[in-house]
Each structure stands twice: as structure tokens, then as C-alpha cells.
């Protein structure tokens, strides 16, 4: 069974259900007319972004040079308007000593194009209404 981690609702009323955390399928979501992006959080709550010009969604993961595992560490959902980005980062593993623990949501605002780690741009933006 796939645990859908987000839902996109379009102005037409149609919906797109995302894939799993290991394969979110954001690329398959239509790139126009997005009215809202809802992310399903642990414990059953929903984080809903709406009224943005653009939306983005991606997963953060860490691959150590030693060991086979890929550790999925964060879920990101972003909305952009007026050349600024609101970024919501949900922590899934406690990678940041003493600062962020599992379940924390970090909200930050960036100029558009500076929202990625290292203050670099991100790919995958899709258009709102």
C-alpha cells in the first residue's frame, strides 16, 4: 500500500495524490493551476499551502560514504509569491544536534532562487493560479 504524502488540488477541482516518501512522483503532477498543496504529516495532521504563485515539494536524504543505507531526513514543501519563498521543512530524523528533533517544522523565508541548501536554487517548481 502506498502512503500518499501530499495532495495537490487544482482550480478545476481535480486532485493529484503524491506517491510515497521514497518515490513522491512530484514530476508527474500537472504544472499549472494549483490551488493548494497539502502535506500529510506524521500523527495525522495536514500542512496546507495555498494562494501561492508557485509550489515545490521534495525529500531530503543523507547517504554516508560508509554503509549502504540512504537516510530520509526531511520533507520540504515550498510556496513562492512576489519573488520570495516560504519553505517548510519537516524533520524526520534528528540530524541537527540540539536544534531540531523528529517532527519539528522549520519555517523560513528566502528570496526566490536562494531557497535550496547552500542558498542555491531548487528545481521542480509548479504554477499556481
Amino acid at each position: 500500500m502506498i502512503n500518499h504524502i501530499y495532495k495537490v488540488t487544482f482550480k478545476t477541482g481535480e486532485e493529484f495524490l503524491g506517491g510515497s516518501i521514497s518515490s513522491p512522483n512530484w514530476a508527474d503532477c500537472l504544472n499549472s493551476g494549483i490551488m493548494s498543496l497539502e502535506v500529510f504529516l506524521p500523527y495525522g495532521d495536514i500542512l496546507k499551502l495555498t494562494n501561492y504563485e508557485k509550489y515545490n515539494f521534495y525529500i531530503g536524504a543523507i547517504k554516508p560514504i560508509t554503509g549502504k543505507d540512504l537516510y530520509i531526513s526531511h520533507v520540504y514543501t515550498l510556496g513562492s509569491r512576489d519573488d520570495y519563498v516560504n519553505s517548510y521543512r519537516i524533520t524526520l530524523i534528528s540530524t541537527n544536534t540540539g536544534r531540531h528533533k523528529v517532527g519539528d517544522i522549520t519555517v523560513r523565508m528566502f528570496p526566490f532562487g536562494k531557497e535550496g541548501m547552500g542558498r542555491n536554487p531548487t528545481n521542480g517548481w509548479k504554477s499556481g493560479i
Binding site: P64, D69, N120
Partner: protein
Amino acid sequence: MAAPSITFLWNSSQNDIANGGSDSGDSNWKVFDPLNDKIAFLGNGTNDQDSNESKDVFSIPDSGSKEVPRQFVNDYSEGKWDRIWLAGSDADDGGGGNYRYVFGVYVDGTTSSAPILQAWDSTSLESYDLEVLGGGTPANSMLEVISTKDSAPGVEWTGTPMAGDGGLNSVALGSSAITSPTMLYWNQRLVIPSTANAFAVEPVLCLYITYS
């Protein structure tokens, strides 16, 4: 889209040349065995292809700071120290220089943002408390990394002190998302201050990636 496949490699040769063999390596580049191989910083008494049953350790300097002069991969399958000839800087008595193609990672897939190199105490990815990583103060980390994706670093390069995932103490391997399978490159060095305590520790380098 699923997470990209990630393969770490090192340049085992004395040729400053890009990897031509994607995730399989080539005559210069070897694939890092993530379960058994380890990177080691050693003294001048250890030579390429020496047996890994012994080693020459680096001595903490009496004053100032010195770069550990030689880096190796403890090649588990060969039972030998495989010298990473081009690793390090020429500053602080290091044994490297202006070399671009030294360490690499092949990212097979696409990402949402530029991959980031990080360093942690262990694969639990929870802390950076080891003295070699600054003992909780990332700016004091002895491990320095520089991205060489776009150019060579210069002869006496100094890198970014590595510890945890803070923006000032991790290194973006490029400035944009990965849109097709790509090799990314870096160089690294270990700079030991005279105030350091003796250590034999195994911090972990990691690549932080994003996918959608």
C-alpha cells in the same frame, strides 16, 4: 521520481583526470566499497600499496598547525593502503596541491537542489562532537573540504571546516540541481593544531541530496 543512486569513488592514480567510467570507475578511478573501505589520514612513512596491517601515524605538531601529509583508502578487498596521491593541499606542509579530480561521487538520477557534503561523528547522523570535527564547534573542525566540480582549487587551498549540516560547515558540490547523471568532485585535507589531543576516530562523510 525515486531517490538517485549514489556511488562514491576515488582517484587512485597520479593523473588529475576526470572519471570516465560513471559508477563503475575506470583505470584511474576506483569505486569505494561502502561496507569495508575507509579513508585514512597517515604519516609519510606509509606508502602506496603497503599492507594495511601496519601504518605510520601522523604526529601532532609542536607548534602551529600542520596538514596530515598523506591520505589513503584502506582497500579492504586488496588488504592494502591505496594512496590518494592528489589529496590535500600544499599549504601547512600538506602533500597535495592544485588538484581537481581527487574524490568524487556519481549521482545517477536527478535532484531538486545541489548536493551537499557533510561530516558527522557516525552514521547515526546525530552529532559532531568529535574533537576532529571541532568538538561541537564546527568552525574548529580539522577536516576541510573544497568543491572542485567547476575548477581546480589552487596550490595552497584551504577549505571549509566540516561538521554537521550548518551552511557554514558543509560544502555544496555545485550550484544547481542535478538534471542528468553527473560526477561531482571535491578535495579534502586534515589540519592538526598543536593543541590537539591524540585521536584515532572514524567520522563519516555524507552526501545530502534532495529528490521529488
